[in-house]
Structures are given as C-alpha cells and as structure tokens.
C-alpha cells in the first residue's frame, strides 16, 4: 500500500535548511515592505499577493514538511485551496456583475440622440425614420420635449 511508505519517526531537516528558508522569508518580507512604497498601479495587489503566496508555499513545504510527506497530504492541502478558489471566483460572478441587467436594458436610453431643436414632424415614426431605426425594436420612448 502506498499509504504506508513513510515511517513513524519524525522527519528532521538539517538546521541549515530552516535557517536558509527563514532568511528567505525575512528577505521577502522586506520585499513586501519595499514594494508597498512603490506605486505599480493596477499591479499593486498582484505583486503583494505573489510575494505572500511564495512565502506561504515555503512555510507549507519546509516548515510544515509537505514537501517530504506523503503526497496525499499535499493533495488534500491543494484541494482546500481549489475549494477556496471556487468559492471566491463564483462569488465574484455575482459581486462584480451586479446590476448588469440594467446596463443592458438602459443601453437604448444611453444611445438615444438628443436634439437641440424639434424636428418638423414629431411623431415617433418620423423620428425613427430620420434615425433609420425601426419603431418595432425601440422599447424606449424618446423624450422630444427638449
């Protein structure tokens, strides 16, 4: 059985690895602080998150031994991240797109032409003709009083 490949003895890494990883983490922390002072515009968040992700992965891999343990644990760990991603992404389909329907419905109003002076014939048909659109497709009443 593949599940029994590791022994029950604690897995001990040489001190140098701990210190090495520790100093990389400190270095990256400094990187975060430094990057916070520079304005990358839209990339601000991306860069901060990228550094944080690298740090978190290092902690999980070395300090939490995921790199050396049974790969099943890695799979479990990653699946938790997948679930989190599903939750956030699908929720954003809602939060970022709320009210879109009004955008679509209001398109006709937004695109309507506003005249400086009244056309000679103010019936809807005449206006539609002058804009070369069909009256069947406009469900918007164009306000011609101004």
């Amino acid at each position: 059985m593949t599940e029994n490949t590791h022994t029950n003895e604690p897995h001990v890494l040489p001190l140098s690895i701990y210190l090495g990883i520790g100093s990389i983490l400190i270095f990256l922390t400094a990187g975060t602080v430094y990057a916070a002072g520079i304005d990358f515009g839209a990339y601000n968040l991306l860069i901060a998150m990228a550094i944080a992700t690298i740090k978190a992965s290092l902690v999980a891999m070395y300090f939490m031994h995921l790199k050396y343990d049974n790969k099943l644990y890695l799979l479990l760990f990653l699946s938790a991240i997948v679930f989190l991603a599903i939750f956030i992404v699908i929720t954003m389909f809602d939060t970022l797109r709320r009210g879109d329907i009004y955008e679509i419905k209001s398109g006709a109003i937004r695109d309507a032409v506003i005249y400086d002076s009244l056309p000679a014939d103010t019936t809807t048909h005449a206006i539609a003709d002058s804009l070369s659109i069909s009256t069947d497709t406009t469900d918007v009443v164009i306000d011609t009083t101004h």
């Binding site: 599940e3 699946s79 699908i90 809602d94 939060t95 797109r97 879109d100």
Partner: protein, 538 residues
C-alpha cells in the same frame, strides 16, 4: 430459540462512569443515540406546536413574535442537533468500524471528544432558548440577524461548536476507512454504507469550517460592527448568503448521503439481491460530494445576486440531480427479481424511494430560474425540503435504526407494531406536506403566522397529517423501548445478510471480533453465498 450472548459491549463494564469515559465506538454511538433522539423529540414538539397554531388563519394561541421563535428553534434544532449528526454519529459510529472489520475507529478518544463537543454546542443552543429565543430562521440572514435583539450569538456559537463535532467525526471516519480495513477489504469490497459515510466525511471536513467562519463573522459583526455585511460601511448583506449557502448546500448532502448509504444496505439485505451498479453508486456519492459545492447560489435567485451568477447556478444545479438519479435507478433495478421480504426496514426503503423521488424532482423545478422566482419563499420550498430531509433522510434513518436495532441491543422489536407505525408516518407525512406543494404553488408564503382564509382547508389538512405522524412516532417510541426488556433475542443475523456486522454476536462483543476477520466475498454476493436468517432457523 436464540440466546443473548453472556458478555457483550453493553454489560462488559458497568456504571455511569464507564459510559461517560468510554472510548468504545459502539457505546459512543449509543450516547449519541440518546442525546440526538432527545433533541429530535424537542424539535418535534416545536413542529407539532407550529402546525397547531396554523390550524386557523388567525392567532390561535401564540402571537407572531412567538411564532417566529418557534419556527427558528424548530429548524435550528432539527438541522444542527438532529439531522446532520444523526446518521454518521449514531449508526456510522456503531456500524462502520465493524463493517470494515476493525476493532474501533482510528481515533477513539477523538470520537468521545466529539460527543462532548456536541453536548457543549447543544448547551449553547438550549441556553439561547431560555435566554429569550431567536427569531431569524435557521439561516440567520443578515441584516436582520445583526440587528434583532434576540439571542443570535449564543445559538450561532452553538452551531459553530457543533461544526467542530462534525469535523471530528468526519476526520475519524476518513482515517478509519483508509487505515483500518481488515485483510481482503479492498475499496471495492467495502459495503456501500461505508462509501456513503466516506463521501459525507469529506464534505464535513471541507464545508464545516466555512460555516464556522461565517457564523464567527456574524458574531463579530454583531459585537463590534466590522461592517462586512453592512452596506453603510462598504459591506454586502448578500455576501452573507454566499458564505452561508457555500456551506449549507453541501450540508444538505451531509444530510442525504448517509440516508442513501443506509438504503443501499437495506435494499440488498432485505431482497437478498446483489446490488445493481455497485461502482455507479459508489462513484455517484463522490460525484454528489463534488457537485454539491458549486450550486449554492440556487438559494439566492431572488436575493439580488447578479443575473449572470443566477444563470450559472441554475445551469449547474441541474447537474446535482444526475448522481441522485443514478442511485435511484440502481436501487430500483436491484429490487428487480429479488426475493423481497416486506420487513420494516424494507417498508422504509420503499417509502424512501417514493418520497425522495418527489423531493428530488421538485428540486429540479426550483433549480429552473424563472420557476423559482414564483416559488421561492413559498410553502413549495417547505414541501420540497421536507420531502428530501424527512421523506429521504429521516425515513432512511428510521429504516436503518430498525435494520440495526437487533444488532445494537440483541433483541427484536414487535414487527406488527413497527409496520403500523411506519404506515402512519408515511401517510401522515404525505398528508402534512403534499398539501404544502399545492398551497405554495398558489402563493402561500413560508414563515408566515397569519394567512388568507383561502388557504384554510390546506393548512387544516396539513395539521391533521402532523397528528397522524405524531401518533406513529409515539407508537415507535413505545415498541422500541419495550423491545429492550422483552424483545425476543435476535441471534447473530436476523436478516440473513452478508456484511461483517451480521457475522458477530448481537449485541457485539466489546472488541467486535475475536480474530481479525478476512473478507473473501463482496458485501452483496447473494448470488454466491447463502446466509440464513437466525430468526427463521428455529
């Protein structure tokens, strides 16, 4: 005549203390049985009281505030204290280790701890009951739940703690199934009950933390007003619903998968037929576990979530029905040409097939976006989820209780009374809830205390149905308790079934098996192996 074994897990150690400190999975199952059934009774009392109030369109004996508290407590107790833990914690604890040929679960102490955690969570829930009640509904929706003056904090804290109890049980089952299977018990020789429990455990471990964090956010919002759900501070009340249903839709499968797991056992054991489509049933449990995580927004079609999200969720929702459909068809195919014995567990199985199909199919109606706009928050929803949760899970649980009762206690109950009780519950259930489909489609909103005169006949009929059901449950309590004293000894294998638990004495010995059992045939090889019933032998 069968005889009771001399020593077994029930009498090997004596005294209250031996029970409260036990690490035996069977005894822990019994502790759970007692405590969960107590809360089932409390939740049931609220149900009867609610239905009584709805007998007439106007106030009968409680005012509207009280009514709101009653349905909240009914819902919260039934969901968090009864239906979620019921099958895994009672029957799973008792049967799962024996089924895979193990002496106990992987972490016996954690198992006992989970029971204590459950009791602490229950205490908080009970505390909120005496400290003025709660009136938000079991879903605790913001913004109401952050502003009402009732004791929301203690009950959500209770649900939070109960979540940990679920996680402990789930974790324990996952490790047990991976590590403690006896020789020959390969993954595909596992009884389907174990597969169902395993899939449930996965959802519990993945989803319960989300509930925890949601309820914690709600508590923090109430106490210090961080504003995450408050638009005035840049928050979003609909976000709460995302959090809540991201847990709670998978949670409906935490409720139904164990029920389905029981059905697979009962349908084979009581028709002596090899299961049809073993792998399809096993994999569909995992399929359900996965699909259940991507459909939560179907509870939010009218919440103001974006139309895009609503369309995506509606589309995905239709997929969850597929694995459930696969199971139902496989069970029906299993019955074909089986030697069906109309024992009490089999009656419950048939009731399940009938009721769960109605519940599942109405779920499809609700998943259709435009139909749901009309039906949302009406009695149609109430009927839908009672058909799946009561018609599905509770019926399967009761069937399982009757199926394994002889194993738990070593004694049979009175079959005639059991069948009458099953019939009363089935008829009463349909009287109570089928009427609600009709009312709901006609526009009767849910969670209303007073209603229009036009709905009176439906509500009255529904209330009569609840009385029929109540009589059925009282009868059940009577004959089950009586069987403990004078039920006739069941022998090892009253149903002539093939899984491991039926090959040992009833009640089982303290450590389940004297020698480690070896699995040489599949759990449902009724075509190859003959097991005689210990009831009919003599």
């Amino acid at each position: 005549m069968n005889k009771m074994p001399e020593t077994h897990y029930l009498n090997c150690k004596k005294g209250i203390k031996s029970w409260l400190t036990t690490v035996d999975h069977k005894r822990i199952g019994i502790l759970y049985l007692l405590s969960i059934m107590f809360f089932f009774f409390v939740g049931g009392m609220f149900a009867v009281l609610l239905r009584l109030e709805l007998l007439t369109p106007d106030k009968l004996y409680i005012d509207s505030d009280m009514y709101n508290q009653f349905f909240t407590l009914h819902g919260a107790i039934m969901i968090f204290l009864f239906i979620i833990p019921a099958i895994p914690a009672i029957l799973g604890n008792f049967i799962l280790p024996i089924m895979i040929g193990a002496k106990d679960v992987a972490f016996p102490r954690l198992n006992l701890a989970s029971w204590y955690i459950y009791m602490v969570g229950a205490l908080f829930a009970v505390f909120s009951l005496v400290a003025g009640g709660v009136d938000t509904g079991w879903t605790f929706y913001t913004p109401y739940s952050t502003t009402t003056s009732t004791s929301v904090i203690s009950i959500t804290l209770g649900a939070f703690i109960l979540g940990f109890s679920s996680i402990c049980t789930g974790l324990n089952f996952i490790v047990t199934v991976h590590k403690l299977r006896s020789p020959g018990m390969t993954w595909f020789k596992m009884p389907l009950f174990v597969w169902g429990m395993y899939a449930t455990a996965l959802i519990q471990v993945l989803a319960a933390p989300v509930l925890g964090i949601t309820l914690l956010l709600l508590i923090i919002e109430r106490v210090v007003g961080i504003g995450i759900f408050d638009p005035a501070m840049g928050g979003d009340p609909v976000l709460y619903q995302h959090f809540f249903w991201f847990y709670s839709h998978p949670a409906v499968y935490i409720m139904i998968l164990p029920g389905m797991a029981i059905i697979s056992e009962m349908i084979t054991a009581h028709s002596h037929k090899k299961i049809f489509g073993y792998k399809a049933i096993a994999y569909s449990s995992l399929g359900i576990a996965f699909a259940s995580f991507i459909v939560w927004g179907h509870h939010m079609f009218t919440s103001g979530q974006s139309e895009l999200a609503a369309m995506i969720f509606s589309f995905l929702t239709f997929f969850v029905a597929i694995p459930s459909g696969i199971k139902v068809f496989n069970w029906v195919a299993t019955l074909y040409k089986g030697s069906i014995a109309f024992t009490t567990p089999m009656l419950y199985t048939l009731a399940f097939l009938f009721l769960f199909s109605i519940g599942g199919l109405t779920g499809i109606f609700l998943g259709a976006l435009s139909v749901d706009i009309h039906l949302h928050d009406t009695y149609f929803i109430v009927a839908h989820f009672h058909y799946v949760m009561v018609g599905g899970t509770v019926i399967a649980f009761l069937g399982g209780l009757h199926h394994w009762w002889p194993k738990m206690w070593g004694r049979m109950y009175n079959e005639t009374l059991a069948k009458i009780s099953c019939g009363l519950i089935f008829v009463g259930f349909n009287m109570t809830f089928f009427t609600q489909f009709i009312m709901g489609a006609q526009g009767m909103p849910r969670r209303y205390h007073l209603y229009d005169e036009a709905f009176r006949p439906f509500h009255a009929f529904s209330t009569y149905g609840s009385w029929v059901m109540a009589v059925g449950f009282c009868l059940m309590a009577y004959y089950l308790i009586r069987s403990l004293y004078n039920g006739k000894p069941a022998g090892n294998n009253p149903w002539g079934a093939l899984t491991h638990e039926w090959q040992i004495t009833s009640p089982p010995p303290e450590h389940n098996f004297e020698t480690i059992p070896i699995t040489d045939h599949g759990p449902y090889d009724y075509d190859k192996v003959v097991a005689k019933s210990t009831l009919t032998e003599n």
